[in-house]
């Protein structure tokens, strides 16, 4: 049973069609003690059929501890949004290793309700859509000279 209605699927297909870069969602999961991991997987599985630019890779928090550590993820479910540079040159050389860049956008918890909209926005941004931030904001953000972690707490609505 689809979690996304046919009408919403069509809308998403349309916005995803503008993506210029491949996006991969790293889904951090664990087998035990993760009540919403299955729900998260079900939500994520609905995205790749809507765009050939979107893929999902499952990362086990325990078995793939190195990857989880590299992304600073220590709980599940979590999602890290990664993307590839759109370079027509590399399209011909299929033997080139694919490098996935970290967008540094993470989601902790199932991306249900309004969080799903945020996830879609993150996918579009990583997928090449220009930032919607004002130039002044971008200048301010560019002046950040140390590591900053911004956590936004939300609830499903």
């Amino acid at each position: 049973m689809a979690l996304i209605s046919p009408a919403d699927q069509q809308k998403l297909q349309e916005v995803f069609a503008d993506m210029t870069r491949p996006v991969r969602l790293l889904f951090f999961t664990q087998t035990i003690g993760c009540e919403t991991c299955l729900q998260t997987r079900q939500i994520l599985d609905e995205l790749p059929p809507l765009s050939d630019k979107i893929s999902i890779e499952e990362v086990n928090l325990i078995l793939d501890a190195d990857t989880a550590k590299a992304y600073g993820v220590d709980r599940a479910p979590a999602i890290a949004v990664t993307y590839q540079d759109a370079s027509p040159a590399s399209a011909g050389s299929s033997d080139a290793p694919s490098v996935w860049n970290d967008s540094r956008m993470r989601f902790l918890g199932a991306p249900a309700g309004y969080e799903f909209i945020s996830l879609v926005q993150a996918v579009l941004l990583a997928g090449g859509r220009p930032s919607a931030l004002a130039p002044e904001s971008r200048n301010r953000i560019a002046s950040v000279d140390r590591a900053v972690a911004i956590q936004v707490f939300t609830t499903p609505t």
Binding site: E35, T36, G72, R75, S103, R104, M105, R106, F107, L108, G109, A110, E115, S118, L125, A126, S131, L133, A134, E136, S137, R138, N139, R140, I141, A142, S143, V144, D145, R146, A147, V148, A149, I150, Q151, V152, F153, T154, T155, P156
Partner: protein, 64 residues
């Protein structure tokens, strides 16, 4: 913001799924934003105010 600066990582945290985090940061209403365990912003703000409050402590040099 994370996408603009390589120094910034952004987390959207579902508070009800991680009550330990919600407790640690005393999340009683949403949205609540925590920056480097140091700055907290309650509610939604206009973009310029949010950027200023979130990053004021974490950038050097004279401001415009």
């Amino acid at each position: 913001m994370a996408f603009v600066s390589p120094n910034i990582t952004a987390y959207a945290v579902e508070a009800t799924e991680f009550p330990d985090l919600a407790r640690r940061y005393k999340v009683t209403g949403v949205p609540k934003t925590i920056v480097n365990d140091d700055v907290e912003i309650l509610g939604a703000l206009p973009e310029d105010a949010f950027v200023e409050q979130a990053l004021d402590k974490f950038s050097a040099g004279p401001r415009q």
